[in-house]
């Protein structure tokens, strides 16, 4: 391993970490603003112009708050749980190509930390490991609501892993690779080549399970404010709670990158237009996460399980079978 590659990788890691930590903060600003506009409010207005510095105010508040470890909690697990959420969210980013390759001072930069040949598997695996954050945090908290939340987390994540994997199986069969870059090359020919046209069912299934993976509103029952307070986050305060938050928003951003990369052509042919297209698609999917939060109610845990096991999983299996038959003949 030559040192240039090592330096390049470290720089890429640092840049991704910095950008997405900041984006997670700015994501909360967007969420508050968009939710407010949809509910005919103004949202944050007082800190900075149009409340733009609210992110900084929140950051200062989270960083300077006392780090409270309540009595009766299992201290080491309680401390490590938020770190798991945030770390796995960022680790998942390693296999995501955020932009097409570009040249800086004659040096070609690939905006992907590691183009592993099992990219999708790695991303989904890392997001699945992220469920240990809420699970361990909830179980270690010595709080009944946190425990309920931990149980729901386990149920939701494990169920929707099934749907995610099965829905992605059909596109993977078509492309014949697990690397997200190969996915992008497969669809590089333009809008007509997008996998969403040949796999619309898989697209919708994956989109639905993306909501469960990130724990966003129709499936927000792992931390439902109105029934189990803040779920696994009830006993957390200060930056430990903030890590949960950063993990959640980073996950939203990463899954918003993954959906267009797999189904909607990614960055296309790698031109500037394609790169902007990927960012635009990512923004739409991120916006959609906020949009549904303003519009849709939450479902009950039993409805969620019902939807997963009785509806989505059979459809996913049928989709895989049909794809297999079509490819065979």
């Amino acid at each position: 391993m030559d040192s240039a590659y090592l330096i390049e990788t470290i720089i890429k890691v640092v840049v991704i970490l910095l950008i997405f930590s900041a984006l997670a903060g700015i994501g909360t600003y967007f969420e508050r603003k968009i939710l407010a506009f949809m509910q005919r409010r103004l949202g944050p207005m007082n800190v900075g112009p149009y409340g733009l510095l609210q992110v900084a105010a929140d950051g200062i508040k989270l960083f300077t708050k006392e780090d409270i470890i309540p009595t009766n909690v299992v201290t080491p697990i309680f401390k490590i749980a938020p770190v798991i959420t945030a770390a796995t969210a960022f680790m998942a980013a390693a296999a995501i190509p955020f932009l097409p390759p570009f040249e800086v001072f004659g040096y070609e930069v690939h905006p992907i930390v590691a183009d592993v040949n099992i990219g999708i598997l790695y991303v989904l695996g890392m997001m699945a490991v992220g469920f240990y954050g809420p699970l361990l945090g909830g179980m270690a908290s010595a709080n009944k609501f946190s425990l309920l939340s931990a149980a729901r987390t386990a149920a939701v994540f494990i169920s929707y892993e099934v749907v995610t994997g099965l829905s992605l199986l059909a596109p993977i069969m078509m492309v014949g690779s697990l690397s997200l870059i190969d996915f992008n090359e497969y669809q590089a020919g333009g809008i007509g080549d997008w996998i969403v046209w040949s796999q619309p069912v898989a697209f919708i299934l994956f989109w639905i399970s993306a909501f469960a993976e990130t724990g966003r509103t129709p499936f927000h029952l792992i931390a439902n404010d109105h029934e189990i307070i803040d779920g696994f986050g009830t006993e957390y305060s200060g930056m430990r709670w903030g890590l949960f938050f950063i993990g959640e928003y980073a996950n939203m951003f990463f899954i918003s990158f993954v959906i267009p990369l797999i189904f909607l052509g990614g960055y296309g042919d790698g031109s500037l237009f394609g790169a902007l297209g990927l960012l635009g698609k990512m923004s739409f999917f991120f916006f959609f996460f906020l949009w549904t939060r303003a519009a849709w109610p939450d479902v009950r845990p039993d409805q969620l399980m019902w939807l997963c096991w009785k509806i989505l999983m059979p459809i996913a299996v049928i989709n895989v079978v049909i794809t297999g038959f079509v490819m065979m003949f």
Binding site: F37, M38, Q39, R40, L42, T292, A294, A295, W296
Partner: protein, 205 residues
């Protein structure tokens, strides 16, 4: 919409109607049909459209309070004011004690004495705004319009005692001399055109 629509409590007439609630499905096939119907009816997208429409319309209802304030009604009952006489700039209060008597939360306290001109003089007058429920009886009962309510509702202070001082409620003398005392047209004030409605006391019989 007129108020009658709300005041009419007779449910049998008017615009009330029963919401059509479908029969709960019992068989598996019926349940399946309901799932399919709900899936493809697109009701979720109605919700999405409603919130997006409101966002595009951008009809914001927020009042940014410290900078913007809602107008309050003329009969709003906020912190009391004690008025002065226009003729002599002295206090209007004649110490009759009616406000103290009528106050249902017992928050008005006054002391009076007979001064050297053998007129009744108010020596002590306090309103405990911590107890006051702002019912407005004191302003209504006052025969001289000496105590009225004002529209001043932002009354935060370090000490509760700040809210009971008579001098704070009294119109400042310089403001009085400048002729800037506002006659409160709200609760307890004389209704407009009262002069035209006054009739002579029929002394003939």
């Amino acid at each position: 919409m007129s108020l009658e629509a709300f005041n009419n409590r007779n449910v049998a007439e008017g615009d009330y109607f029963l919401v059509a609630i479908e029969e709960y499905p019992t068989t598996g096939w019926d349940k399946f049909k309901r799932v399919v119907k709900r899936t493809f009816k697109g009701e979720l997208f109605v919700g999405l459209w409603v919130v997006l429409r409101e966002m595009i319309r951008f009809d914001i209802h927020t009042v940014q309070y410290p900078q913007e304030k809602m107008p309050i009604g003329p009969r709003y009952r906020a912190v009391h004011q004690m008025k002065r006489l226009w003729e002599s700039n002295t206090e209007r209060c004649i110490g009759c004690g009616l406000c103290e008597k009528i106050c249902i939360s017992d928050c008005i306290r006054m002391d009076t004495k007979i001064d050297e001109n053998s007129r009744k003089e108010v020596t002590e007058y306090t309103i405990n705004l911590g107890r006051c429920i702002f019912c407005g009886y004191c302003a209504e009962v006052c025969p001289e319009l000496a105590i009225t309510h004002s529209g001043e509702y932002e009354n935060a202070s370090e000490q509760r005692e700040h809210f009971i001082i008579y001098e704070d409620m009294l119109t400042p003398i310089d403001k009085m001399k400048a002729g800037k005392q506002l006659e409160f047209e709200g609760f307890g004030a004389i209704t407009p055109h009262e002069d035209e409605r006054v009739k002579k006391t029929p002394l003939a019989y």
